[in-house]
Every structure is written in C-alpha cells, then in structure tokens.
C-alpha cells in the first residue's frame, strides 16, 4: 500500500464546504488564471467549468512523487497552468483559461439557463444527454479522433471499454462519443464496516430498508441515485434470478429494467423510499463519508471515488472498511467534457483550444495526476502508454512480503483483447473488496452495471413529484388530536382578541 491521500487539501475543501453551509450556497467559485497579455500574438480565452475539487491543483510535496517504472510523476503547478504553458509551446498560441466550478449538474444547468457562458463543461452522463437532446452542444472535430496526431491523447488513450459505451449509446440517433469525451467514471456501491455488516447484506440494495441496521445506513440525497437503488431493491428477485442473468439479451434488458419509469414502478419506488426514510440514518450528499469514519453509520451508499476516499481516511484511524457492489445492478456513471454552442459557437480557435484541453488532461501522466489528486478513476487506460496500469499496480500491487494475494484481472478496461494476461495485478487479498475493487471494479461487477438514462420532461416531473412526496410531511398524516388542539387554541385566541377589543371599546 503506497497510496497516500492528500489529506490537507481535501480536508480544507471539506471545511470550506461545511462553512459555506448549504449545497445551494456553494454554486460557484471562480479562479481566473490570467497571464500578462502578450499584445503581439493572438490570444484565446477558454472558459472551463468543472466540478469542485475535480482537477489537480498542483503544489504536491516532494515525497508525494509517484515513482513509476516509466518515470516519476509529480504535480508542481496546477493542471490549468501547465496546460497554458503546454499549449503555447505546442501550438505557439497563448491561451488564457478562465476556470470555474459548479456544485451539482442541476446547478450547472440552471447557470447555463440563466445565461452564464462557458466553452467547455464537465457534467455527468445524464446531463450530457439532456444537453445533447436540447441541441446545445458542438460536436468534437474529426481531427480530435485522428489517432496519428501524437497530441490526440484522448483518442489514443481512452479505455476500449469506455469508448465502447460512448459509441453504443445514442440520443436522437447520434452517439455520445460524437459530442462528449469522458473524464472520470465509476460505479455506485455500498461502503460497509465488515465487523458489523455481513458482506451478503451489503451486496444488496435491500440493505437500505433492512431493519437489522435501523438508522445505521445512509442513502444519497438526490432523486436519481435514490431511484436507482430503490428499483434495484424492488426488482431484486428478478434481477438476481438465473433466467434473467443468462438471457442472451441480458445487458440491454438490465438497462431497460433499471430505467423503468412506469407509473406503477414510480409508485412502488415512492412507497419503498418512504420505508427507507424511516429506516435510514440520513439522506446525505457529503456527510456520509465522515459519519462512516467516525462509526456513526455502518453502511453508506457511495460513489466509488468517494468510497476510495472513505476507506483511505478510515484506515488512517485504524478502521478497515470494505466496499460492495450490489448483486442486483450497479449504476455506471461518467463525467465528460462537452463543448457548448453558447460559448464556442463557430470559433475554431476556441474549439481547438478546448479539444487540446481535453487531450492534455488525457495524457497518461496528467490523468494519473488528476486521479491521485481527486481519488476518482480516469477513463484513460493509456493505449500504448503503460503508465496508467503501472499506476494501478503501484497503488495496489502487493509488496513482496505479502502472504495472501489474489490475481486481479483488469484486461476488460485496459485492452480490447480480453484474453490478454498482461493486465493482472497481484494484490493483497483484501484489496479485492477494498480500494482496488472500488477504483477498478472487476469484470464481474461491470457485467451487472447499467447506465441511467436521462428522463424526458414528463418522466422527470413524475419522478420529482414522487421525490417531493417522499421528503415532505403529508397533511393527511396530521393526527386528529393535533387538529383538535389547534382548533381549540385558535378559538381561545379569537375569544381573547374579541374580549380585548370590546374592553377597549367600552374604555374609550
């Protein structure tokens, strides 16, 4: 275990988030990395908007150097600054990146609707689908996919598994890959304390309403993740049945089942989530990680990147947590770069800079820097460049003295040749259910992964209504005695008021 976490930075961010209070307050934080203007040459301004804490900001300590066989990697400057320098050196054009951040996909969408202009943004897959459907995106240029250009690191280095997903999913007859380049990806799963929770329980979405863990499990405070988990729990018997598993059309059927938005399913999900509300510890976005580490909760619905972070942090306190991918299905999610019509428009210089920004972040050493810094998994496998695999091995590979080891096969991610044996990590046995499993799930977990499509307006409305119903107190639930007391109180107050007024009247 060589992995170290940038505790300082992440802690600072957590505190900043806590201080800023509510999720809606922390909409944006803008940092402009402006350089002195060079008046002689043309200058391109690139407005990038990314998730908070989602790119390497540099300033690593010397001892954080990642010493791979193919050379050392360290983040001295921020990725954005490095990009500006690299772009000038490579293309002789000055680029000025205005980098800002957003808190949720919905925040980003609302910001765009309000007229904020960005050239390049990094939303999740369903928001990309929504933006595609609304015809707001500029397609990636043909040159971007030209693998003979040595600077096209994305096309050369993206994992074949991810490329496949981007090419096989369509919106209005156009593939995702035409408009979007992946950045980070992961699966949803359950982080749990193996001393208190059995692996079997953690490997099912039904843990969320399992009375054995009453008020000791957290669920995500957003409608999409909660919906997915609820559907998984409700259809558990079907999804885990052999006949369904062995269906030749299993993958497609799984996606259909997990994205079922029929009125009956929505109603069933509502009932289920109401049970969960009475059984779970909390609906959380960020606090679950800390509550897991301090032991307030035993299991925690988590995105894989945050799962890695939680397990790392807990280990520093001497607590060893495990990660499980539910048997029913797991949500595979992406964040990807897309170019906006409202920003790029017809400006070819801008588009070139935007695509170069994607490529620069896809260069294996930079992908590794970002991964190391934020804890999520890059879509980049490196192509011919071995460094990404070396990094996974450097992170999780067993030391020589390790006694119990497993051979962990990641061929599905790193190569098209799935029979290849070049991508096997010999890892400590427990890593197969800890950080390695969360960061690079095995092929088995990937087999039962399903994307979650974006819902159209009608579906969205129905599902959001369902969510509000789950979260709100229903007036029909007000007990009769409260109505009675309220009525009596109102009458008493009215009588007092009237008597008072009469008294005043007679006094005058």
């Amino acid at each position: 275990m060589k992995k170290k976490i940038r505790t300082g930075m992440t802690l600072a961010a957590t505190v900043a988030l806590a201080v800023s209070g509510y999720p809606y307050a922390s909409l944006t934080g803008s940092y402009a990395f402006a350089e002195e203007k060079d008046t002689s040459a043309k200058e391109v301004t690139l407005r990038v908007c990314n998730w908070e804490e989602y790119i390497d900001l540099g300033d690593w300590d010397e001892d954080e150097t990642i010493d791979l066989e193919s050379g050392d990697i360290i983040g001295e400057n921020s990725m954005v600054k490095d990009f500006e320098e690299w772009y000038y050196e490579t293309y002789g054009v000055k680029v000025n990146v205005e980098y800002s951040t957003f808190g949720t996909n919905e925040d980003l969408y609302n910001m765009l609707t309000l007229g904020d202009v960005y050239d390049l943004v990094c939303p999740s897959e369903y928001m990309i689908m929504k933006l595609m459907a609304e015809d707001r995106l500029v397609p990636l240029s043909d040159h971007f996919f030209d693998e003979t250009d040595e600077n096209n690191y994305y096309s050369k280095g993206v994992s074949p598994y991810i490329r496949n997903i981007f090419e096989n999913n369509e919106i209005n007859g156009e593939t995702w890959g035409k408009y979007a380049a992946g950045y980070m990806w992961g699966l949803t799963g359950i982080v749990y304390n193996p001393e208190e929770v059995s692996e079997e329980d953690a490997r099912s979405w039904k843990i969320l309403d399992n009375p054995d863990y009453k008020r000791q499990v957290t669920i995500k405070d957003n409608v999409r993740d909660s919906y997915f988990a609820a559907v998984g729990a409700l259809k558990s018997d079907l999804l885990t049945s052999d006949s369904f598993r062995n269906d030749p059309d299993y993958r497609q059927k799984l996606v259909d089942e997990m994205n079922d938005t029929s009125p009956e399913t929505i109603q069933a999900v509502q009932d289920y989530l109401q049970d969960v509300k009475n059984n779970a510890y909390s609906f959380e976005t960020d606090s679950g990680k800390a509550d897991m580490i301090t032991g307030k909760v035993l299991a925690n619905y988590q995105w894989s990147g945050d799962a890695v972070y939680t397990m790392d942090q807990a280990e520093e306190d001497g607590v060893f947590l495990d990660y499980a991918v539910p048997e029913e299905s797991t949500n595979i999610y992406f964040d990807g770069w897309v170019m906006l019509k409202s920003g790029i428009g017809e400006d070819k210089d801008k588009q070139q800079a935007a695509e170069a920004f994607i490529n620069f972040n896809s260069r294996p050493d930079n992908a590794i820097r970002n991964m190391y810094y934020i804890g999520y998994t890059s879509v980049i496998s490196g192509g011919d460049d071995p460094r990404v695999f070396e990094y996974a091995d450097w992170n999780y590979g067993a030391e020589d003295e390790e006694e119990e080891t497993v051979d962990y096969d990641l061929a599905y991610f790193f190569t098209e040749d799935t029979d290849s044996e070049d991508y096997v990590i010999t890892a400590p046995a427990e890593q197969a259910r800890r950080q390695l499993y969360a960061q690079y799930p095995d092929a088995d977990a990937m087999e039962r992964s399903s994307i979650m499509i974006y819902f159209d307006d009608a579906q969205n409305q129905a599902i959001n209504q369902m969510w509000v119903s789950v979260r709100c107190f229903n007036i029909h639930d007000v007990p009769a005695w409260i109505w009675t007391i309220t009525a009596i109180l109102v009458i008493v107050i009215l009588v007092c008021l009237i008597r008072n007024m009469k008294k005043k009247h007679t006094q005058n």
Partner: protein, 264 residues
Amino acid sequence: MRKFSFSRKSLGVPYALFLFVFVIAPLLVLFYYAFTDGQGQFTIANLTGFFTNPNTLGTLCYSFALAIVTTAVCLLLAYPIAYILAFSNIKSKSVILMLFVMPMWINFSLRITALKEVLTVLEGNLAMHPFLNAVIGMTYDFLPFMILPIYTTISRLDKALREAAMDLGANEFETFLKITLPLSVPGIISGVSMVFLPAMTNYVVLDMLYNSTYIMGSLIGSYFAAYNWHGGSMIALILLGIICLFTLLTGGSEEENTRGGALL
C-alpha cells in the same frame, strides 16, 4: 443653499439604486416566475397547486409546528433569564449576558457540527429523534435573539410602576402579572418574530442534524433542483405573504401596546 440641497438628494441615489437592484427587481422577477408557466403564459396554477397538494400543505404545517415549538421553547428559556438578569444586582450582569450571546460569534455550521456530536453522545443514535433534534438545534441557534430584546425591554422598565403596584397592595406575583409582563410584551414580540420566521425556513439545521423531512426552505430548493422555477417562486412568494401578514399583525399590536404603556 441650492447646491447643498442638491447634494443631499444625490446622496440618496445609491440607496435607491440598491433598493431597486436588490429588492424591487428580484421581487418583480419572483412575481413573474410565480405567475407564469413554462411557456411564459400567465397562470395561477402554481398558486392553486400549492393549496391543493397535500405535500406542500403538509410541509407548511410541519414548518409551522417546528417554528411554534422552537419559539415557545426559546421564550420559556429566555424570559426567566432576561427577567433574572434585569432585576438582579449582581455586578457581572453584562458578563453573564455576554456568555449567553457569545455562541453567536462562533460560526454557525461549526456550532451545529459540535452540537451533533454532543447529541450523538446523549441520544446514542441521532437519527432516532429528528423532530426533537431540529428543535434543539434551532433553539440553540436562535436563543440569543430571544433573550436580547426581552432583556432590553425589561431593564428599561420604570421601577416606579412596580413600586407603586406593591404600595397599593399587589404581591410579587400580581405585580409581575399585571405590570412587568404586559409592559415587556413589545420585547417578546420582537423576540418572537426574530425566532419564528427563520425557524420556518432554516433547513440547514435540519440537514446537518439529519432530519430528512422538508421544511419550507428545502421545499423551495427541491423545486429549483428539478428546474421548476415557477413552482419554487410561488412557494417563496407565499412564504413572503405569510411573513408580511405576521409582521402586520405583530406590528399592529406592538403599536397598541406602547400606547397602552403610555396610558398606564
């Protein structure tokens, strides 16, 4: 002379501008969204929708209940403290008062996070008592806003009035009931309005203490997260209406009471 009056007028321009940009204009936008639908057509469906939906009405009730209980607890705690402080002869009065107010100087989310840990120790599992936690959290947060106005009012009471009542044969309790309490009503009212209204909307306390039921503030947030700006604006507007109504009612009686005080 002319020049002087001109410059005095122009001093008000920044304030007028401020009022327009940050108060009037947003309010107009709020009205626009509240009374239009997705196509920009005029509609009152958002208004009727609020009063026919059992969930939004339930949220209103829940917020009211939370605010009423919080305000009552704050009042019951604050009044005796303010009363004792105002009438005691201890020299360290201002120090004690400061101790009650001091938590306000510490960052809000830090205080609630600390409270979360304390409640976890006391209750075992925090998530078992969501309503109680919300009340405790809000009371902790808003108590100084109740103590200060009541203390100020009571300490400014004319002692002669109480002495007169005693001279005329009233005992301690009667003096309190007939002199001190009625005269401190303005302080109570300003305390209540400073606690009641934030308690209806401050959902951060609920979020941080894991009460997963929406109150008015979080309900508005959820509408905006679902891109329904129209419904969200309408709820904000209704809340504004409730606050206006509340202020009118209490403001009216406050005036009455000061007059009543003068009469006495």
